[in-house]
């Protein structure tokens, strides 16, 4: 067993110890013991993931076969550089979430079950990228789904919405499992074996390959929150406890992207160009739809959930572009696009952890997630405000944030593919660039709204006015996540060459990006230097500040009343809210968003002309949910109600059903076989 394997096994054992400790420890010590154990396990996992990526260049990877652990198939694990990236991301997110949980869980979440399921969830997310056989993969996938479902349901006694969110999540995640199961079973049947090595060597017919790809893609897309399978995401993320939201949004949804890369590019060795154009189109649609819903959302965590849909959409744009370029025989842009997608996974994990943890801190302090009721947190939660500001800067893809770097790489790969990728490329690549640009622009508006309305100006409610800063464990975890974001933003050159090794698992090994200070693309021209941009900005700002100090009148700053065009003192009700901030954009995208508003006028009883009360509602429902899922749910309920008549309680009838069902099946088998 090499170092990677030892660290990986130690991480899994750490999670197991954390789970057992949480079950056995007395309530007072439980939070600390379980939290620090999980954090330690996350750290080990991160080290092993990084080790796998670094050592992967030398052709070393750790694998194990444990035939006794499960009946029939045993457990097969392989930590290669591609899986290593996802293991490392999960590990780091787990460290932040676990430490955060120590401070966050002291109000009612310190129960035995919740505390021990959290390490199990982390375990599942560490096993999924390491699984090397169909049965191991599916078991880990199901463990991930069930444990996250239990975590989402943690606060179901406090709010009714949690139960509904849990139901949506349970149904969607299990339908996803069914399609992945179907796809992988067809694959394994065609390959004559279920280990990934056998699948890789299999020679399937193009038709069954397509079936495998489409079935698994549907399942992975639903896990990644890709439109139109995203409906669980904006429900489950807000209702889960905040560090669980961070784990789900920064680590779990990545597994969807991992699945597409592993099955589509690695096990199936790519495929026809239309598969990947489908992936690209799904990614582009989710990027746009997700960010449009985020820009009009006024629930802070729902906004972050939709932003996850957007970012995973961008990742899938990268993955789809990589597959498409590989199918069009363009190896250099293909490797670059996949590296950009993986870098975006890493960057998204970093800033989404920051954002969800700071949103949790706001929730902890004020008890509300409604941006329209927040505001003025700058003075009451100074550290949380800075943390959220860093996260918002990174999420809006502006320099010197980290998402800027990955979106830049993605755009470069799309641009440089154009001359060689034929008419399909000439049509899709400009549109993909436009989609990325529009989603970047809308992301800027979204996060200016979230930060500006939520944290700046003056409090809009009594809860926001009374807020107080979070406990040190939460602040420490947020600081850790912020440090990760800053490191990724300033020194992407440390990470991107390593990601090139992960890309090497799928595409023939080559350097994607080189350079220490400047990100220099290999094979095509293009470079950018995030560190020097940040340095230049700092120098320019300091220079401007010096200039002002030199030339301005040497009088001290005076505090004065807000001018506000000479109007009287402002009340907090006169401030712009999140809803009013988004109104122009909502109006521009009216046809897509289909906002609803209605006015209830209650007249005085005696006269229809005298109005007693006017009530105005405005909301922007998720249109896909409204158009696609509401009719579907209604139809299923109707079928269920109709079928109720079949169960009359008579045993004779039930025996009759059994008899006819058996006969019908035998007839079908005789006819078809």
């Amino acid at each position: 067993m090499n170092l990677v394997g030892a660290l990986y096994v130690a991480a899994l054992s750490g999670c197991a110890i954390a789970a057992v400790t949480a079950l056995l420890a007395p309530p007072r010590a439980r939070l600390h013991l379980a939290g620090w154990c999980t954090a330690g396990a996350g750290g080990l996992a991160a080290a092993s993931g990084v080790g796998a990526v670094v050592a992967g260049g030398a052709g070393q990877s750790w694998s194990a076969w444990l035939p006794e652990l499960l009946p029939l198939a045993g457990v097969r694990l392989t930590v290669d550089p591609l899986g290593g990236v996802f293991i490392a991301v999960t590990g780091v997110v787990a460290v932040c979430a676990a430490i955060y949980g120590i401070g966050y869980c002291d109000h009612g979440l310190d129960g035995r079950v919740f505390q021990s399921v959290l390490p199990l969830f982390v375990t599942a997310m560490l096993v999924v990228p390491a699984a090397a056989s169909v049965s191991t993969f599916l078991l880990a996938w199901e463990l991930m789904a069930v444990s996250s479902l239990l975590l989402v349901l943690a606060e179901h006694r406090r709010r009714a919405a949690v139960g509904r969110a849990g139901l949506w999540y349970a149904v969607m995640t299990h339908l996803g499992l069914v399609t992945i199961l179907t796809g992988l079973v067809v694959f394994a049947a065609g390959a004559g074996g279920e280990s990934f090595d056998q699948l890789r060597a299999a020679a399937l017919s193009p038709a069954s390959k397509t079936v495998v790809f489409l079935a698994t893609f549907a399942g992975f897309a639903s896990k990644a929150g890709i439109v139109p399978l995203h409906v669980w995401l904006p429900r489950a993320h807000p209702e889960a406890p905040s560090h669980v939201s961070a784990l789900m949004s920064a680590a779990m949804v990545n597994m969807g992207a991992y699945g597409v890369v592993r099955v589509g590019l690695d096990l199936l060795h790519g495929g026809p160009a239309w598969w990947w154009l489908l992936v690209l189109a799904a990614g582009a649609a989710s990027a746009l739809f997700g960010i449009l819903q985020a820009v009009v959302a006024s629930d802070l965590k729902r906004l972050l959930g939709y932003s996850t849909t957007e970012n995973l959409g961008l990742v899938l744009v990268g993955v789809g572009a990589a597959g498409f370029f590989a199918a069009s025989k363009l190896p250099v842009p293909a490797a670059l696009a996949l590296a950009a997608a993986l870098l975006h996974v890493v960057n998204h994990a970093a800033f989404k952890t920051v954002l969800f943890l700071s949103a949790g801190s706001v929730l902890h302090a004020t008890g509300t997630r409604d941006l329209d009721a927040l505001g003025g947190l700058r003075t009451r939660l100074p550290y949380t405000t800075v943390v959220f500001a860093v996260g918002a800067l990174c999420a809006s893809a502006l320099p010197p944030g980290n998402a800027f770097v990955s979106e830049w790489l993605l755009l470069q790969s799309l641009i440089h593919a154009l001359p060689g990728s034929g008419v399909a490329g000439a049509v899709t690549m400009p549109l993909a660039v436009a989609v990325i640009a529009l989603s970047a622009g809308l992301a800027v508006a979204t996060f200016v709204k979230a930060f500006g309305v939520g944290f700046l100006a003056r409090p809009r409610s009594a809860e926001a006015e009374r807020a107080g800063e979070s406990p040190p464990a939460m602040l420490g975890a947020m600081a850790l996540a912020v440090a990760g974001c800053v490191a990724l933003a300033l020194a992407p050159t440390l990470v991107v060459p390593a990601l090139g090794r992960a890309v090497g698992v799928v595409f023939p090994a080559r350097d994607v990006v080189s350079g220490e200070l400047t990100l220099r693309l290999a094979g095509i021209s293009g470079m950018v230097s995030p560190l020097l941009i940040a340095a230049a900005l700092v120098i320019a700002v300091v220079a401007v500040l010096g200039l002002v100090r030199l030339t301005a009148a040497r009088r001290s700053r005076r505090a004065a009343r807000l001018w506000d065009c000479g109007a009287g003192p402002m009340s907090a009700r006169m401030e712009y809210t999140a809803t009013s901030f988004a109104e122009p954009l909502q109006r521009v995208f009216d046809d897509v968003l289909a906002p609803e508003s209605d006015v209830d006028v209650t007249p005085v009883k005696e006269s229809a002309y005298l109005v007693e009360r006017v009530h105005f509602h405005a909301r922007v429902p998720d249109r896909i949910e409204r158009r696609l899922y509401v009719p579907l749910v209604a139809a299923v309920s109707a079928v269920g109600r109709g079928a109720r008549g079949l169960a009359s309680g008579s045993v004779h009838r039930y025996l009759g059903y059994g008899f006819w069902a058996l006969t019908a099946m035998l007839i079908v088998l005789v006819v078809l076989w």
């Binding site: 003025g376 700058r378 003075t379 809006s396 502006l398 320099p399 800027f404 641009i415 154009l418 000439a426 400009p430 549109l431 660039v433 436009a434 640009a437 529009l438 622009g441 800027v444 508006a445 200016v448 500006g452 700046l456 100006a457 003056r458 021209s525 293009g526 470079m527 950018v528 230097s529 020097l532 230049a536 900005l537 320019a540 700002v541 220079a543 401007v544 301005a552 009148a553 009088r555 700053r557 005076r558 505090a559 004065a560 009343r561 807000l562 001018w563 506000d564 065009c565 402002m570 907090a572 006169m574 401030e575 712009y576 009013s580 901030f581 109104e583 122009p584 954009l585 109006r587 521009v588």
Partner: protein, 313 residues
């Protein structure tokens, strides 16, 4: 050589941009039959503002204080990076056209956050409108960048300009013409000129930029005015460099080429400014909700430019 060029263009932008603003106002005044305040007036205004005391409105915090600094900082960095005087700037590898766009957006974001921090309805309104325009402008910029970079095979500004200098006739291709039209509309939107925003208005229902800066006073306001002028001249300069790179000192040019290219820069940007302000006289501001249609039109032009470049390549 490259370093001197970069310093020269930063100085040219920093000193010249208020003059450009003065020139544009003078042209406008003359066309409207007024005498005008003179080209130096913006500098006089800045001096006056710098001498006033700094005022912090109650209830605002560090974001409000930092916004003017960041706005001016991003404008200076962009002025150093964009090839206005020389293509051999040592910073050329630091940022390409995408990064320049993103840096300018960062400046707008800083100002919008400063406006939101005041908590006044005007501040919120200006920020909201600015972000709407920004979000809609972004696709046009990146797609027209795409169109321009296909010919060169790179998004680096230096390479694009150098390629155009070497083959000046390539500017007349449909790609360049369409991309130029798209970028011109975007420049107008980004700098808040008519028909997107009226820079001299104080009518609350029509303004974008002015609504955001209402609470600033003294040196802070001076910084914002100066930075806005720099953004205007940098964007006009970028437009002229991309489509009319005459006189820009290349990598091999001697030191003597630099003063010449500064002079041509001043002439080109001045000409563009005069044209822009003359156009503004004959135009009315669009309704806010008609602006997206204008921007969608410019986006379509950019998309056509990419299409043309594919079929011409």
């Amino acid at each position: 050589m490259g370093v001197i060029g970069a310093v020269l263009q930063v100085i040219a932008v920093a000193v010249g941009s208020p003059l450009l603003l003065g020139l544009m106002r003078q042209v406008r005044a003359r066309l409207e039959g007024r005498a005008g305040a003179g080209v130096l007036q913006p500098w006089r205004d800045l001096r006056k503002l710098m001498r006033k005391e700094a005022i912090t409105p109650r209830g605002t915090g560090w974001v409000f204080r930092a916004a003017p600094l960041l706005l001016a900082g991003t404008a200076l960095v962009v002025a150093a990076v964009v090839p206005l005087v020389t293509t051999a700037s040592p910073l050329d590898g630091v940022a390409d056209l995408f990064a320049v766009t993103a840096l300018l957006a960062l400046g707008s974001v800083a100002l919008a956050l400063g406006a939101l921090d005041t908590g006044t309805a005007f501040g919120g309104m200006g920020a909201s409108r600015e972000m709407t325009v920004l979000a809609l402008v972004e696709p046009t910029i990146l797609v027209s960048t795409f169109a321009l970079s296909i010919r060169v095979g790179s998004t680096s500004l230096g390479s694009i300009v150098t390629a155009t200098v070497e083959d000046p006739l390539s500017v007349i291709s449909p790609v360049s013409v369409l991309a130029a039209a798209a970028l011109a509309i975007v420049t107008i939107a980004e700098t808040g000129r008519i028909p997107v925003d009226n820079p001299s208005t104080h009518l609350e229902l029509t303004m974008i930029h002015e609504a955001m800066v209402l609470e600033y006073a003294g040196p802070d306001l001076a910084l914002i005015e100066w930075a806005s002028a720099m953004r205007l001249s940098v964007l006009l300069g970028l437009l002229s460099s991309l489509f009319f790179p005459l006189g820009i000192a290349g990598a091999g040019a001697g030191v003597l080429a630099l003063p010449l290219s500064v002079i041509t820069l001043v002439l080109k940007v001045g000409l563009l400014g005069v044209l822009l302000s003359a156009g503004e006289v004959f135009m009315a501001k669009l309704r806010l909700f008609r602006v997206p249609e204008l921007l969608a039109g410019s986006f379509l032009l950019a998309l056509l430019a990419v299409g043309a470049s594919f079929f011409l390549a």
